[in-house]
């Protein structure tokens, strides 16, 4: 039963998302616009950070930071609606009365949200990486480290969204709540990419982010379910 409910909610949320393409494409457009326009605002002659280094190196290091920040901010956009829609139309109540625990509903919603909001970012990385002339190795590592870190972002932002469903216009609060918590994933993800750029082993930071992802995905939904139950009272 829990698996059926998970798949049922996942399929329903994907179907709803495809009916509202304009809503979930906003963060993606934001991500593309920020990462593609940023290099245009840079002065190439000032990018060589230390004498003797090529300016390409400065562009690449900046690019990694910009792409990570773009992905982080894009995943914050529109998240206040993640649970609010289901609460406002009453479908969350009906899901709570369903045959499976609320936890499987939460997993279904998170999986659907990750598929429509985070996976496209990972797929777009090779494209935006071009603007910063990232090496193929660094681009692949950037995509891989985003793939590992985005579940952490999704879960943390969803905790913020679940805790603030009863507050109006809570997007700013979600940001304040969540951004300090995602900084480890950001630091280690960016570090892995820089190591790959230098053609060194990035296993350490990747393992660290993978362990964060496992903790977030296994414990986060429990907190989300509890917050939603409290919100419905």
């Amino acid at each position: 039963m829990p698996l059926q409910t998970f798949l049922l909610v996942l399929r329903r949320d994907l179907k709803v998302a495809f009916r509202r393409i304009s809503e979930w494409s906003h963060p993606l457009l934001f991500f593309i616009a920020v990462s593609a326009l940023f290099p245009l605002a840079l002065s190439p002659e000032r990018l060589a950070m230390t004498p003797g280094e090529s300016e390409l190196f400065g562009l690449q290091s900046l690019g990694i930071g910009v792409i990570w920040m773009g992905a982080l901010l894009a995943s914050l956009m529109g998240l206040d609606r993640l649970f609010l829609n289901d609460i406002e139309d009453g479908s969350l109540e009906q899901l709570m009365l369903g045959p499976a625990p609320l936890l499987s509903v939460v997993y279904g919603k998170l999986a659907a949200h990750w598929l429509v909001s985070a996976l496209p970012l990972v797929i777009l990385v090779p494209l935006v990486g071009l603007s910063y002339r990232l090496t193929p190795g660094a681009t692949a590592m950037l995509a891989l480290s985003l793939l590992i870190a985005t579940p952490v972002l999704t879960v943390l932002v969803a905790i913020g969204a679940a805790l603030t469903v009863n507050l109006r216009g809570a997007t700013a609060i979600i940001g304040l709540l969540v951004l300090p918590l995602v900084s480890p994933a950001l630091i280690f993800g960016a570090r892995a990419t820089v190591l790959a750029l230098d053609a060194e082993s990035a296993a350490g930071p990747l393992y660290f982010n993978a362990s964060l992802a496992i903790v977030a995905v296994s414990l986060g939904p429990v907190a989300i379910a509890a917050a939603l139950r409290a919100a419905l009272e």
């Binding site: 049922l8 329903r12 179907k15 009916r19 139309d89 009453g90 109540e93 709570m96 369903g98 045959p99």
Partner: protein, 206 residues
Amino acid sequence: MIDSSISLELTDVGLSRGGRDLIAGLSLSLRGGQLALLMGPNGSGKTSLLRAIAGFAPTTQGRIVFSGGTAPDHTGDAGPTIAYLGHLDGLKKDLTVAENIQFINSLRGISRPVDELIAELGLALAAQRSVRQLSAGQKRRVALAYLSSSSSRLWLLDEPLTNLDRPGRELLGRWLDSHLAGGGIAIVATHRADELRRPGCLLLEL
């Protein structure tokens, strides 16, 4: 027909909302086949009581025990035993009527074909329209699908007649009759008790 394998017992139940006590010391005992109508002015706690029985809100005191029994199930529906119809319809506005009913069927383990259910709800012509385009009464009719599982032994209905036209109210009345005849329990909060009253039903003034 009274089926005593199914029962709902409220013992000395107290409820509060927003720090204000709504209900104190309410006891109620219902057996399969019984209907209770909750009446009372706006704000008297009808919705809060139904939500507490559904398990959405905690009680401040007392106990609510529902035992669903093991009633023989002739249609083979295997799903949750509590059906709740509140102020909100529980429908996805971006999906069509047929998609919503398909979802409800899967969620509640209803074995009836979607087309048949849509036809009985009188929505055959609207089946492929999205719920966003329906009238309030038509949305209510779609929401009635949440009641269509025979495995639901306890119905909690909050103003179920709202927005329904006469055929819609008659349909709900027929479904309520067959639910009670099949040994189910129903608690209905309503301002229109005259339309829902059945012989032997319990009237509860809050």
